[in-house]
């Protein structure tokens, strides 16, 4: 399990994003998150499997009024894929997001914190995917250090309540500004561009870095597939293409370009589908029967 998790993580932390977005950081962030320990997916996979039959909340959403009024496509797709895999193993999954972002999900109605707090009580395991959290000064920022207060829901206190109640939380992010990166806050301040401004202070039980947050969500689904031996729980490359076409049609934006196109973080659908293909291959190889070659 350690070998395959190591390779899943190497794959989803391969940095492909275009220049203009933060580059050169994800490998270091991943190493810092791992801190010399075993691959992160080992514990994350166990945590996911331990919540079979329980209530899982998946939190996502990153709208920017004027630029991405219907939100960004990085986050929702990873959430849907991870959530679908968890539903298939018996979890009761609820998606939480801003109303304007994704009408088919359960939404967070407002950006004020008190309104969101009750969600903590209806959740046994929380997964946040590309969900920004507060920095040391209490504000939220994009990876380019633009202020994001009042543009999206703040769920810091939801995570705090879950943690205080001893519940498991998993933070998936790709920039250093999302919930979960509080686990390696000092590293981000020192090593990530705009780190002192954007570093999120919110900690989670598990941090799962990815070069694109969606890919982290796909990796969670792959972990469930690894544990169950059911390859159909993995994301599918054709479906990834369909999803990115759908988000473009619904004006859910590519965060790399700010346009409604079938890219994610500036990376075309075909390439994101390629990541999905290799993820499936990793799971498939893990479950394939060994053979003895006679030559």
């Amino acid at each position: 399990m350690e070998i395959v998790c190591n390779n899943i993580e190497r794959l989803v932390t391969t940095e492909i994003r275009p220049r203009g977005l933060t580059r050169g950081a994800i490998a270091g962030l991943y190493e810092a998150a791992r801190a010399g320990g075993p691959p992160l997916g080992v514990a994350v996979g166990q945590a996911l499997m331990a919540h079979r039959g329980k209530r899982v909340g998946i939190f996502t959403g990153a709208p920017v009024p004027g630029y991405m009024p219907n939100g960004e496509n990085d986050g929702p797709l990873g959430s849907i894929v991870a959530g679908r895999a968890l539903e298939r193993i018996g979890c009761r999954v609820t998606f939480y997001s801003e109303r304007e972002l994704f009408p088919i999900l359960q939404e967070l109605h407002k950006t004020d914190r008190a309104a969101n707090l009750p969600y903590a009580d209806e959740t046994d395991l929380a997964i946040t995917i590309e969900k920004q959290g507060a920095t040391a000064d209490g504000h939220m920022y994009s990876i380019n250090a633009n202020n994001r207060d009042h543009t999206r829901a703040n769920i810091d206190n939801v995570i705090a309540k879950l943690s205080a109640d001893g519940k498991v939380t998993i933070g998936v992010g790709d920039g250093g500004n999302e919930i979960g990166w509080g686990n390696i806050y000092d590293y981000i301040v020192k090593h990530v561009p705009h780190g002192p401004t954007i570093a999120c202070t919110i900690r989670t039980t598990h941090l799962f870095p990815a070069a694109v947050s969606n890919w982290g969500g796909y990796a969670l689904a792959a972990l469930v597939a690894l544990h169950t031996g059911d390859l159909t729980l993995c994301h599918d490359p054709k479906r990834e293409m369909e999803y990115l076409d759908l988000t473009a049609k619904m004006q859910v934006m590519d965060g790399g370009t700010g346009r409604a196109i079938n890219h994610v973080d500036g990376i075309p659908a075909e390439v994101s589908a390629a990541v999905v293909t290799i993820l499936r291959g990793l799971v498939q190889a893990y479950h394939r029967k060994p053979f003895d070659r006679p030559f």
Binding site: G20, E270, V271, F291
Partner: protein, 344 residues
């Protein structure tokens, strides 16, 4: 910037996808890290590409070695090797104006030739064709003897004739410290099944010609650079399944050693780095070219774990090969593209 690019190319091509129970599962990252330590911690694919750009001038020959097979199971060899050779040969031809030379035992040449034609590089045994600088790119083909007694002399003759700027080995089996060549399953690979092309590398090094070894197990040309560590990492490193008992690890070192999960992938990584240095993404083949290369390679008889005529490579699917190329291409294109300020 080059280091970040090279690091992520290395990371991608060393994602290990070997099946559970395979004794070589889990060795790629340790082999890669050992090779990286032995080469000043630089990204290996970038190191190889930099060495090639330094060594090669337009019109110089570059010798490629490959060919791993075993009749009756793989009488025309395997898909790992030929596709990497063709990718890198194409990159050197288009990027640096080099003249590729394909060297392999006669039975293993058809898949190389077929994949090369699919990639738009026309191979020929005729130097007039190989030196044709007209409207389509070409390569030279040189069959290599399976008579091991003749191998060293032929190696010298090839170097004397062509005076290549570099010798590149991709997935070429080579001898351990006792001179015995082994398969990845620990068996002896007898000389009637494997050309002793490693003499070309030894001769080239003696003449100061730049050499690159690309491998994915430890028994290939180049892995001699990390022999001591590879013996500890490889499941048959200390003890093989043949009477020699000295393990499978190669004693043949090269100036640069590149490790990948599949040797082809490592070669694609070097081609990507060449494309980066040439500032031209098309120096690396695209997904459609990769698909055609794979198909034509197996139609010519190579096998890769998916059965005859199925373009699998080292037991990974055709779609996976194309996915690898798609990711490398995007990594390359996004790195070469000018930065834009998103503005919000």
């Amino acid at each position: 910037m080059p280091e970040t690019f090279g690091l992520h190319v290395d990371r991608l091509v060393t994602v290990e996808m070997r099946r559970a129970g395979d004794p070589s599962r889990g060795i790629i990252v340790p082999l890669y890290e050992a090779a990286s330590r032995a080469q000043r911690g630089r990204p290996l694919t970038l190191l190889a590409a930099e060495g090639l750009t330094r060594s090669i001038t337009r019109g110089r020959y570059v010798v490629f070695l490959t060919g791993s097979g075993r009749a009756p199971w793989r009488p025309r060899g395997e898909t790992d090797g030929p596709l990497g050779v063709v990718s890198l040969a194409r990159a050197l031809k288009l990027g640096l104006g080099a003249r590729p030379v394909y060297v392999a035992a006669e039975p293993y040449l058809p898949p190389v030739v077929a994949a090369s034609e699919a990639a738009g590089i026309t191979p020929s045994p005729d130097r007039t064709m190989a030196e044709f600088d007209g409207f389509y790119p070409t390569a030279l083909v040189r069959p290599f003897t399976l008579q091991k007694e003749q191998a060293q002399a032929q190696a010298r003759a090839i170097l004397d004739e062509l005076n290549p700027a570099a010798v590149i080995s991709i997935e070429t089996l080579s001898p351990n410290e006792k001179g015995v060549i082994h398969s990845a399953t620990g068996y002896e690979r007898e000389s009637q099944h494997v050309a002793h092309t490693f003499h070309l590398v030894e001769e080239a090094r003696g003449r100061g010609i730049f050499t690159i070894g690309i491998g994915d197990f430890g028994n290939e040309v180049g892995c001699g650079l990390i022999a001591a560590e590879a013996k500890q990492i490889n499941p048959y490193g200390l003890r093989c399944k043949c009477p020699c008992g000295a393990g499978v690890v190669s004693r043949i070192a090269t100036d640069v050693l590149v490790i990948g999960n599949i040797s082809n992938w490592a070669a694609y990584g070097v081609a990507a780095c060449l494309a980066y240095l040439c500032k031209n993404p098309d120096v690396l083949q695209g997904v459609d070219t990769e698909r055609r290369m794979g198909l034509d390679c197996v139609y010519a008889g190579a096998e890769g774990g998916g059965g005859m005529k199925q373009p699998w490579v080292d037991h990974t699917s055709p779609e996976t090969q194309q996915a690898m190329v798609a990711m490398l291409r995007m990594l390359l294109e996004n790195t070469l593209r000018a930065a834009s300020d998103r503005g919000w």
